[in-house]
């Protein structure tokens, strides 16, 4: 029996009010993502990538249809339940690194664990493990302003991964990085995907990122255009 998908999107429609009218950002999207996939939602600006990522990240709810993440119907979650889902199971990586500037690298990574009420020792071990994955264990006491762009994004990855989420959502994670750093970051994420079986879902239109993906979900004008899984293309 096939494993149940970790993310299941069923005929999702998302409308936004714009200037007194309804703008349809997502049009009847249906897709599923399995555990351990390294997938990307690709498409030009305005294609609905971020809207879809928001719904999967429990930051937004569909107007119609159903979105199930880890067996939870996103539309039925309260604010606190959604926050709990994000806290324990979903990691986020942003285009700009969004580290908290007054805290050290260690503290930035530790923050996600503070919300889980782990012991000091558990947190310490988890933070150093995460920093080791991204090769920044020697930078633990530095402040974000002392880090390069690549290092900052690595800290953001460590922060997202420290709680060992089942899903990691990355919104244009390489947009502010040079080519060398972008490749370094992507290799790190690929490694974490393999080692920890974390499901990675990107929102991107960066060719470099696409080169690493096992699956690319193409959106255009809010509709699913094609879904390419390791050379196996499904046109919609």
């Amino acid at each position: 029996m096939a494993e149940k998908p970790i993310i299941s999107i069923e005929k999702v429609i998302k409308n936004y009010p714009v200037g007194g009218k309804e703008f349809r950002a997502l049009k009847d999207i249906t897709l599923s993502i399995n555990k351990g996939e390294f997938a990307g939602i690709v498409g030009p600006s305005g294609s609905g990538k971020t809207t879809l990522l928001n719904i999967i990240g429990s930051l937004d709810v569909p107007t119609q249809g159903e979105a199930h993440v880890l067996d939870k119907n996103i539309a039925e979650l309260s604010h606190n339940e959604a926050a709990k889902l994000r806290n324990y199971n979903i990691g986020f990586i942003f285009q700009v690194f969004n580290l908290l500037p007054v805290y050290t690298v260690f503290e930035n990574v530790e923050f996600a664990l503070l919300l889980q009420k782990n012991t000091v020792e558990q947190r310490r071990k988890a933070v150093y493990d995460a920093l080791e994955w991204v090769g920044l264990q020697d930078h633990a006491n530095k402040r974000p302003d002392k880090l390069s762009g690549g290092e900052s994004q690595r800290v953001a990855i460590a922060r997202a991964m420290v709680k060992r989420p089942k899903i990691l959502l990355a919104d244009e994670p390489t947009a502010n990085l040079d080519s060398e750093n972008a490749h370094g970051i992507l290799k790190t994420m690929k490694m974490l995907n393999k080692e920890l079986q974390t499901t990675f879902l990107f929102s991107t239109h960066d060719e470099k990122v696409m080169g690493y993906l096992d699956r690319t979900i193409h959106l255009r004008d809010g509709a699913l255009e094609k879904d390419i899984i390791e050379n196996k293309t499904t046109s919609v």
Partner: protein, 424 residues
């Protein structure tokens, strides 16, 4: 988590230093102004009570009506009986007689001719009666500038400025010219034993003090007095208690047909003090309200700006899985810590400055030289426990209020827009 938040407050100076400074300054100014205004009012009350009005005063009805003229021909008689009566009825009040009278002090030269001469205001106090409390009440021993206080009958002290004007030194003889209670001329020699500083420009201009017995003998006022002053044992004026006593006392004589029946008045019923103090207290309350209101606005604004400035940080925290309620709660916890520190420092500084002004005071003698009411020549702040709350509570709560209002944005924030917002 609190430790984490505390680290953030300490490291981010714009998050901590500026709000703490704003609160500190606001609280300090409020405490200082309040303490100073209260001190000045309290000094005016005390000065009047000690030198003129008492906490309560008994006079005859016609004396009360003309008391500005010091009409000793309308004085209270049978003083002993009256004192026995009120001592029993109002045991928490200490009663002491005083006679105020006018006259001329003449300083003779070695030949007995007038060397200098000048009008003066006489105050007859029970200074030789150690149970009267007058020495301590008026702080007479410490107020002596030259010589000593009268220790026996026939001795007199003059205000320092008056003695200087008359060019007289302790040990010299002077003659008092005046009128008795019955209107007869009186000449009485005294030995001047010292000079005194009242600390009230009105009295320091030309006042002399003799013992009450001397005055009674000299002015033909045996067993009589112009005024009988009452002071609460607590030494603190209590208007409610004073009014109660005065009403009770006066009710005894309300149907009396004796035109010289005694009448008791409270401190506030004299020298227009009620109006002055009520106006001053209203001003004090208005001042404090304005300060607290202004401070609250500033601190509210500080909380608001602080909250808005950290909009991005809250977004990250919400995206990372912190609930909005938790973000808001921790924001309030931060505001409480900042408010607590600022209010504490501000209160300590404000009370410290008040204490300095209480001990040292500000000399306003030149400004009130020609004042017609009894004003202290040095105004002082007054330190009391409620000063702490006057600054501390608004300091703490205005910061919390400002932050709470700023924090409303956290709840109104659409999480759906977080990705977009955090990309900026």
């Amino acid at each position: 988590m609190i430790k984490f938040i505390f680290k953030g407050i300490i490291r981010d100076r714009s998050k901590s230093l500026i709000p703490v400074l704003v609160i500190t300054v606001g609280v300090m100014v409020t405490v200082l102004m309040s303490g100073f205004l209260r001190g000045v009012l309290s000094d005016i009350v005390n000065q009047n009570a000690k030198l003129d009005t008492g906490h309560l005063k008994i006079m005859t009805r016609p004396y009360a009506e003309n008391k500005d003229q010091m009409p000793n021909d309308l004085a209270l008689l049978d003083l002993q009986d009256l004192r026995e009566d009120i001592k029993q009825k109002f045991p928490n009040v200490l009663w002491t007689p005083r006679i105020k009278f006018g006259g001329i002090i003449d300083v003779p030269d070695s030949n007995g001719n007038t060397k200098t001469q000048g009008p003066g205001l006489g105050m007859a106090l029970a200074i030789l009666d150690t149970t009267s409390g007058e020495l301590e009440r008026l702080n007479l021993k410490k107020s002596i500038q030259k010589g000593r206080l009268p220790m026996r009958k026939g001795e007199i002290v003059l205000s320092d400025a008056y003695a200087e004007k008359l060019k007289i030194s302790p040990g010299e003889e002077i003659t008092y010219f005046g009128t008795t209670m019955e209107g007869s001329m009186v000449f009485q020699n005294f030995v001047m034993t010292g000079t005194i500083y009242f600390g009230s420009p009105l009295l320091d201009k030309g006042t002399f003090i003799i013992d009450i017995k001397d005055a009674q003998d000299m002015l033909d006022m045996e067993d009589g007095t112009g005024e009988l002053l009452g002071y609460f044992d607590s030494k603190i004026y209590n208007d409610i208690e004073a009014s109660k006593i005065a009403n009770e006392f006066n009710s005894q004589y309300s149907h009396s047909t004796d035109e010289y029946a005694p009448k008791m008045v409270t401190l506030k019923q004299q020298n227009d003090l009620k109006t002055s103090l009520d106006v001053a207290e209203s001003f004090n309350a208005i001042f404090i309200f304005i300060f607290i209101f202004a401070m609250s606005l500033v601190l509210w604004n500080t909380g608001l700006i602080g909250g808005l400035r950290r909009y991005k940080e809250f977004g990250i925290r919400i995206a990372l899985g912190e609930s909005k309620r938790n973000v808001f709660g921790l924001l309030l916890a931060e505001a409480s810590i900042i408010g607590l520190i600022g209010s504490l420092i501000g209160s300590i500084l404000g009370i410290g400055l008040c204490y300095y002004l209480q001990e040292v005071g500000i000399d306003i003698s030149k400004d009130v030289e020609n004042s017609t009411i009894i004003m202290p020549s040095i105004v002082r702040a007054h330190v009391s426990t409620n000063l702490f709350f006057i600054g501390f509570i608004p300091g703490l709560f205005s910061m919390l209020l400002g932050t709470a209002l700023a924090g409303r944005g956290i709840f109104k924030r659409e999480t759906a827009r977080l990705f977009k917002e955090l990309e900026v």
